[in-house]
Every structure is written in C-alpha cells, then in structure tokens.
Amino acid sequence: MNTQNKKFIRIVFFFLLFILISSCQNKEKINPKAYITNQGDNTVSIVDLKKLKVIKTLEVGIAPLGITLLNKKKLGFIGNVGTDDISVINTNTDQIIKTIKLNTAPLSLTSSPDESKVFVTDWFKNNILIISVEEMKVINSIKVGVTPSGIAFNAKYNYLIVTNRDANTVEIYDNNNKLIKKLSTGEHPFGVYTEGKYAFIANVYDDTITIINLEKWSTQTIKVGAHPYNIMTQNDLGFVTNTVDDTLSVIDLKTNKELKQIRTGETPENLDLHKDLNLLVVTNWGSDSISIYNLNDLNLIKEIKTGAQSRSFGDFILH
C-alpha cells in the first residue's frame, strides 16, 4: 500500500471515529438528567432518567444543598453551605466550570425564566443575592426578612417569592426588587413552589400547606402529613413531601383536599418532575436515595441509591 492510500485510510478512520464519538455524545445530551445534591458527602449524583441509573458523581463544595438548572444555557448552580460558595456545572460535560465565592451560606436557589439571573437566599445576612449568569458573579442584593429559606420565581407576574422560616411569613418582590406583599403563613414555612397565579408553601411545624392566590392575595390552608418540606404541582394535583411520615401527600387542587399519601424513602425532602417522561422524582435524605414515580398512576418505578443525605433543594431535573 502506498503512502497516499495509507493517509487516505487514516483520514477515513478518524472521520468515522469522530462520527461515532459525536453521535454517542449527542445521545448522552438528549437524555434528561436529575442532579442530586448529597449534603453528607459533598457530591452531586447525576442520574440518567431514561437509563434510571447514576451516570456520574461529581465532587462539589462542602455540604451542597440548593440547586437550580438552566435548561437552555445548559448550566447547573449548586449552593454549598459549608464552603459558602456556588459550584457552576456545565450540564453538557457535567464538569464544574466555575466556583462563585459568596462569603455567606446559600440556602436555596432559583433562576429567572430568561436564564439571565440566578437568585440565592443568603441565610446569615437576610438577603437575596442576584447573580448575573453572563458575568458569573453577584451583581446586586435585596434586603429581606429573617431566615430566608425557600425561593421561587413566578413567571406570570415576574415575582420573586421567599419564605421567612423563623418569622412565619412569605415575602413577594417585584421586578424592581421592591417588596410588594408580606403575608402570614403557617409555622416554619420552608419550601415554596409557584405556577400561574398561585404560590404554594410547605409549613414544617404545623403540617400544612399555604396556597396563595397572587391576584387576589387570598390564602388557603390544607392539612397534610407530618413535617412537610416542599411542594410541587402538576395540572390539578399537588405533591408534598412529608419528612417525618416518609410519605408524599397527593392533593386535589380543585377541592383543596388531600387525596392520599404514598410511601417514599426515608425522610423525603424535595421533589421535581419531568412532564414528557411522566416522572416524579423525590429525594430521600434518610435513605440516601431518590424515588422515581410514574406521574400517571403514582406507582414507584425505581428507588436509586445516590449519596449521603440527598436533598436537592430547588429544581433539579434537566429537561
């Protein structure tokens, strides 16, 4: 074989190899993933939601808790309350591309729908820190009430909603970072979720959910299981993690009544869902795992071991 031919074969070989590698990568990219913060071992477990298994365990800062994912920008923001910083993950490569120093504990995170900003509750100094995604740094802060815990962004009204755990209140801020409403909640409000004209808050100590109508500013209370931590809704159903009962309350949002409770792993804390795959994912702090349910019948599909003290406070499923 002459040199010319060898060269040609080599080029063809590398071309085919390139196609093979890039097609594999593309395949990886398509699968939705769940990012699970494991506060006990300083890692994030990345779970492929089609293969239903952990595909990577990423070392982050100390005691990771809060999370928000930017689906279009393919970025994940993880709040480390032990090292007072944020690990930014490129979700295409699943590698850490940046660490943002805060000098305060980031308890929870959320992002604006246009993915230009990430909002972080500053547990120690009672602020909401605003991070510019483009600049990857804190560009502004809003002074809020004590112990800001859960945070959510309402896309309908452009409201930022934050619970004040030790004050038993919820605060709602507008686009100009101005407080426009402060309402009473149940005792020890923690997780908050918002969709359309409603906000939903889990009150840990009095085993209830507060539902706020953001148009009329009226509130309603629903009794759920013991020590509810977070809530999420889908169509006319609400799902609440009851940390002490090890159950998920299923709420009918038309009648505002609890329909039933289904069993989770131990100490279920947070939850997120994937509408196309019809999956509901719950993080279990006690059993170091996640429980994956079919959204149609709420049957358990699989419980997957993750890392120590799995929490993922925030939106943790990448679509």
């Binding site: 506060q39 006990g40 100390i62 005691a63 808790l65 309350v81 032990g82 090292t83 007072d84 504990a105 308890l107 547990w123 120690f124 100094k125 030790d166 013991a226 020590h227 940390t243 002490v244 009962d245 090890d246 131990e266 100490t267 702090w285 006690g286 120590a308 003290q309």
Partner: protein
Amino acid sequence: MKKFILTLLTLLFSMSVLAHGPTPQKVQESITVKIAPSKAWEIVKDFADFKKIMKIRSFDDEIMKIKYEMLKKDGPFSDYNAYIIVKKGANDKESVIQWTARFYRTYKLNPPIPEGQDDATAVAAVKKIVGPGLKSLKKALETK
C-alpha cells in the same frame, strides 16, 4: 511554633464548624442480633428503655419501622426525629436493627456559635444515645 500550629488548627476547626450553618445532622448506626426479624420486631416495638427517653410517633408493621420523637429536652440538640428499622440479617435467624436520627444543633442563629451549641456537640450527644441504646436492645433481644 507548636503553639502557633495549635492556634492555627483550632482556628481552622472552629471556622469549619462556623461555616456549616443550618444543616440537619444525621447519626445512623446498625447492630446485628441473633433473632428472627419478626420476633425482633415484636420486642423492638415495646422496648421500655426507649420509651423512657422517646415518645413513639408511629409504627409500620409492614416494613417493621418505628418512629420516635425526643422527650428529653435538655440535650444539646433540637428537632430530634428518629426511626428504627428491623431488617433481615444474613440468615433466617438474624436481624439487623438500624437506628437513624435526624436533628439540629441547639443554636440556630447566625455565627458566632456559642460553645456547646454547635453541630459537633449535638452529634456527639446523639451518638451517646444511639450506640448504648442499640447495645441494650441487642442484650434484651438475645436473652429473650
């Protein structure tokens, strides 16, 4: 020099404690007992030593799990919730008893955290309950 290193270590240690913030703490310990799980469960459900310090919250016979909250309010920890599960052991005549406790330190405000109210103190105190508690349970289970 020695003193300097010691000071530095103390400083580093206290910094790491300070930095931890509002994190729930976990103590999880297991013990293997030579008794069948169903028999172990009947005794665990009614174990008097635990009732002295903890109030039973709920039972689940199906998964052999019992939940407790703390009666003792003077310990250096707060919001204590625990559960004990009886699991199958290596064979029919063996069980594994697992005790998991979730709690917080007593000081919940911003740093600096007063001595004796931090995470490490809370964990140490709960370990002193869980370890000996499991041992006394093992004794009771294996003598009955």
